[in-house]
Amino acid sequence: MFAVAKAATVLGVNGHIVDVEVDLARGLPSFEIVGLPDTALRESRQRVRAALKNQGYAFPMHRLTVNLAPGNLRKTGSAFDLAIALGILAAGGLIPENRLQDVLVLGELSLDGKIRGVGGVLPMAMAAVCEGITEALVPVDNGSEAGLVQGLSAVVVQDLAEAVGVLTGCRSAAVPKPAEFLETGYSAVNDLSEVKGQLTARRALEIAAAGRHNLLLVGPPGCGKTMLARCLPGILPPLSNQEAVEVARIYSVANGGLGQLKLTLAPPFRSPHHSSTKAGIIGGGLLPHPGEVTLAHRGVLFLDEVGEFGRSVLDVLRQPLEDGVVSLVRYGYSVKYPSECQLVMAANPCPCGFLGSSIKECTCTGREIAAYRRRLSGPLLDRIDLQVWMDALKPKDYHTKQESSDKVRKRVVAARKAGDNTCDTNLGPADLSACARQILETAAERFRLSARAVQKTIKVSRTVALLGQSCQIGAEHVAEALTYRLSL
């Protein structure tokens, strides 16, 4: 009257295998779930009871105890329903007892016994392989995710009866088609050929794409800041398959199993509204949930109207930008979310928007401007390698023809490849030409650049050199990099 099934829960973006132990004992009938279940999991009792009944199985008249081991790990979500139901049937003798030992079972049950998709199947399936589990039963909606994992033979099941049939061997198993890497998504964003004028900003965008640098665009309203920023994902090189899986893993957790997972090679582009909270940006909640900076992992986090964001919201970005990981600590446990993204921000120079523009006079007072500028803290600006001033468009620029994103992307891909070949990310002053070093030293002294600013200027210079297919960082590369740091 005892059985164990294997299920899994997600902590951060990592899966953890959980043993679902089911015991049937004589005595007053009851149904308890122990082992730190959350509310959704405790409610699973009602779903399991109804699903078993409606699929034609008698609910046992026993004292029924379900234990989720390890006992100190918090279990969340509704993915345990199917494992609990099958565990009960196995404890009742309907499924051979040891049949469930090496099968990962995931799925939420509906009241009529159909199996619904759940979130986080990809990381859970990966964890299963690490634990030596070779088989998996997953909902139809999550089939493509589970099929992606090497070394795990996944089977999709529609309802409880089918799951029992597959386990007892009286029904043939439906093997899912693994998700394919799609290069779609590029067509969805703006194309650079639509952006008129703004040659400096276009150049900065290209450098940002080639070197994964952070970018700040400042200019009067209507000069094309947002449009230009939206072009950035279109000129980024496609993700490698490994990166695409990394991204898919995050979305598998974040989406909560709504529909089939798309495995796209286009880098993600996130543009949260400026009313977003700290927890919305870096992730959080009582049970942590990935934030925008994590959803933009390996892609672009675009903050439009950055002056309207809360100052504290912007400042929480400082550490994730530097480390590439968000570490959230909760009572008794902590989670880590990857956050290697490129930050692009757009802002007006002052509240009215026209400070320094050639088309309109600014009407703000000095105090207003100072208060507006203060919303972007110094430490955050220090992390922005490319700061670009964009002026309003001249009427004669409206009909100029511009390069398309595809062309620019080819240059970016070539520069990245060249950069990967030299494979030296900690490029120090040694690779600078003597003349370049002198310019940098003078600038650092004159403009009081921080050590980080100098380091980052060198990195931008390196990217400029790579884009120009040069093998040494020359004076012109450093000079160009410095203009992007000092233009504001």
Binding site: R26, G27, L28, P29, S30, F31, M61, H62
Partner: protein, 121 residues
């Protein structure tokens, strides 16, 4: 309704329910089992199974069906009383079941009985 003895009315329903169960092969073990924890109207045996029965009767459905009147508070009391019963008789290793017998009272000779097996657990 004033003047009707509710206690006697309840006993009448319980009597009818017990008769109904006996007809269907149940062996009545105890009636009106009382302890600190609560009260159980009928305790019967259905083969090896111990059945705890709550009897509820109504003369009108204006205030809801009789079986609806067995709310979670009543269920809890029955559950606790059942636990005490099993302990006191050293029968904790038996399988058991909680039933509700609803009596629709439509006059002296026209009573309808609805037996809900495994009404709660």
């Amino acid at each position: 309704m004033a003047g009707i003895n509710l206690r006697r009315q309840g006993n009448r329903y319980e009597h009818m329910a017990a008769g109904y169960l006996k007809e269907r092969g149940y062996k009545i073990v105890a009636r009106q089992f009382r302890c600190r924890q609560g009260e159980i109207d009928i305790i019967a045996e259905d083969g090896a199974l111990i059945v705890f029965v709550e009897v509820k009767g109504r003369r009108t459905c204006a205030f809801g069906l009789p079986e609806e009147a067995v709310d979670w508070r009543k269920q809890n009391r029955i559950r606790q009383a059942a636990e005490y019963f099993l302990w006191s008789r050293q029968k904790t290793d038996h399988l058991c079941r909680f039933d509700v017998v609803a009596v629709y009272d439509k006059g002296p000779q026209k009573c309808q009985i609805n037996h809900i097996k495994s009404a709660f657990s």
